[in-house]
Symmetry: C2
């Protein structure tokens, strides 16, 4: 049987191309030899926008659709007005490809620095909703630029959208040893959305009696992230709260240089997209200082999503082993990629 992976690659801006190169290196090293890896690069991001004014033309969106997965580096550059690439490219992909599960695991690996005293045992995953909430672009401004301006942002939440992501989170919780699921929201203030999330969470929960659940307001959740992160197993939350919490989670588990993510369309109607949580870090682009580990861990999520579980585990073990031996001495992006590829292949 011959197998193949058609992978679209969007290196993007800043350190994006550098870290993506290492992700592809590790992917190539770990895939069984009978798997044909067919990569196609897409020139999208700040350079393209400056050259053509385009963020994500329809033809490109169509052609991206025709892949098994997408690997994305990072999007964004100070030379482009805030929001243009984020909304015109990154969020457009998440929405167009219905990436309703934004999966963000957080694990504190041995020997990895953490700002937390006492090195708590952190190993949880945030299931962030990816296609609704305040990210829909719903809103506007009236009398813009005048002293009478009114600007609104509308968080849109549907039973359909909430139920499918909540179900996914219950499934993930069930598959983990601790079988715990925490809903994070702000039901005491955002009462309409909160009521929807909470009632769906409780109703679906009746089908998962083996999963222990609890609820936290988002403000309280941030406290536990730093005082008791070991209490979390699976967290499900809305798009904006998930954005905030996963950066905090990254910070307490060794930093944004290690945080992986998958923008997943579980049914497979569209290609899922894998990307490090970090941004394009224009300040260190081209210096060879970027840590490609988050991208490599995103490749592990990609492998798992495509059914290459053994290979995913090999990549994750390679990262854990490499981290265990890091000395704090700087290594180039390329050298880290080499080290991870060698271990993962081994």
């Amino acid at each position: 049987m011959s197998r193949s992976i058609r992978l679209a690659v969007i290196p993007g801006d800043g350190i994006g191309p550098e870290v993506v190169a290492q992700g592809l290196k590790v992917l190539g090293a770990v895939l069984p030899s009978d798997v044909k890896l067919d990569t196609r690069p897409y020139d999208l991001g700040a350079r393209r926008w400056h050259a053509t004014g385009e963020t994500l033309p329809d033809a490109e969106l169509d052609s991206l659709k025709d892949h098994d997965a997408i690997l994305l580096g990072a999007i964004g550059d100070p030379s482009v007005p805030s929001g243009v690439l984020e909304r015109g490219l990154l969020l457009k992909l998440r929405f167009a490809f219905d990436h309703y599960v934004n999966l963000r695991p957080s694990k504190l690996f041995p020997n990895t620095p953490t700002p937390l005293a006492g090195r708590p045992d952190i190993d949880f995953v945030v299931v962030r909703e990816g296609t609704e909430g305040p990210y829909t672009g719903n809103g506007g401004s009236l009398r813009t630029g005048t002293p009478h301006e009114v600007a609104t942002e509308v968080s849109v939440n549907t039973a359909y959208g909430v139920e499918r992501v909540v179900r996914d989170a219950y499934e993930r919780a069930r598959s983990r040893p601790r079988k715990r699921l925490t809903l994070v929201h702000k039901t005491n203030v955002l009462v309409h959305a909160g009521q929807l999330w909470k009632s769906v969470f409780d109703r679906v929960g009746a089908e998962y009696p083996d999963v222990t659940t609890d609820y936290l307001h988002v403000d309280a959740a941030t406290i536990f992230f730093v005082t008791q992160p070991e209490r979390f197993d699976v967290i499900v939350t809305d798009n904006l709260f998930g954005d905030i919490l996963t950066d905090l989670a990254a910070a307490v588990t060794g930093g944004i240089g290690l945080a992986a993510s998958g923008n997943i369309n579980p049914a497979g109607a569209f290609p899922s997209m894998f990307e490090p949580v970090h941004g394009s870090a224009p300040d260190i682009a081209g210096t060879g200082k970027a840590d490609p580990t988050a991208t490599v861990l995103s490749v592990a999520l990609l492998l798992r999503h495509l059914g290459y579980e053994a290979e995913a585990v090999r990549v994750e073990r390679a990262v854990a082993a490499d981290l265990a031996e890091r000395t704090g001495k700087t290594r180039t992006t390329d050298a880290t990629g080499d080290a991870l590829a060698a271990r993962a292949a081994g």
Copy 2:
């Protein structure tokens, strides 16, 4: 000259009455003898709601208005549906009395435990907008409880509302030694509100050339809160981001048991309201375990707001001195109040 303070007191739920009693004790101990303190208690919160169905009747709101300030303990009880007291009482007060500056200082006192390794030097203040954003109650739900439900929450932001809080934050930054002001928002996603906040921030900033400014996305801000909190001096942000960030700030500076806040109407058209950031903690209510320090520090903010600067400083020094000698052994709520009152009076 005889002076007086007409203080409305809302002990509220759970540990609220216990901590408020200590706040009043310290206030009584520190006020000059020629100041007449005239307190009036208000029975508002869960008990009242169960008994009468009322959260904040108009007559009570009117009578509260007739005070120099309000001291509030905590609102909320598991027996009351989520949102009823928060929106019907706490937020109603903040909105009715136009508390547009929600002031939340964060300081890591010597000897106070922090979850952060390395005990960074933390001393910043968050100026949280208090009357707009996603807290306006704007939104609703359609086809509630059906598989076709759509629930919305609208963040409402006005040039008027943003400018006045941004100005207040610049003034505070100017009055501090480091003169730094950071705007926190999510301008790359919430582009309409973000554009309003950013343009007002920049425009008003031109009048404060002595204040150094920067901007952070809210997700990135949470990272700095745990990796580099010493970088912050004054932060200005919207109602929801401020809610989240100030709980995190409390967590890294010794916990929610120490976090004070003032809901301030700077012009004095309405009484300002002072309250600990923590909630009603029903699990420890009545056990004498609640730490009243956050309420006592809120009393210091109250004193400062009413012009009793020397007395405010005495209360803050009393807290610092007491914290410096805390051993981790538990002391009752009342004993802590006594200790603080004795030091503040001294």
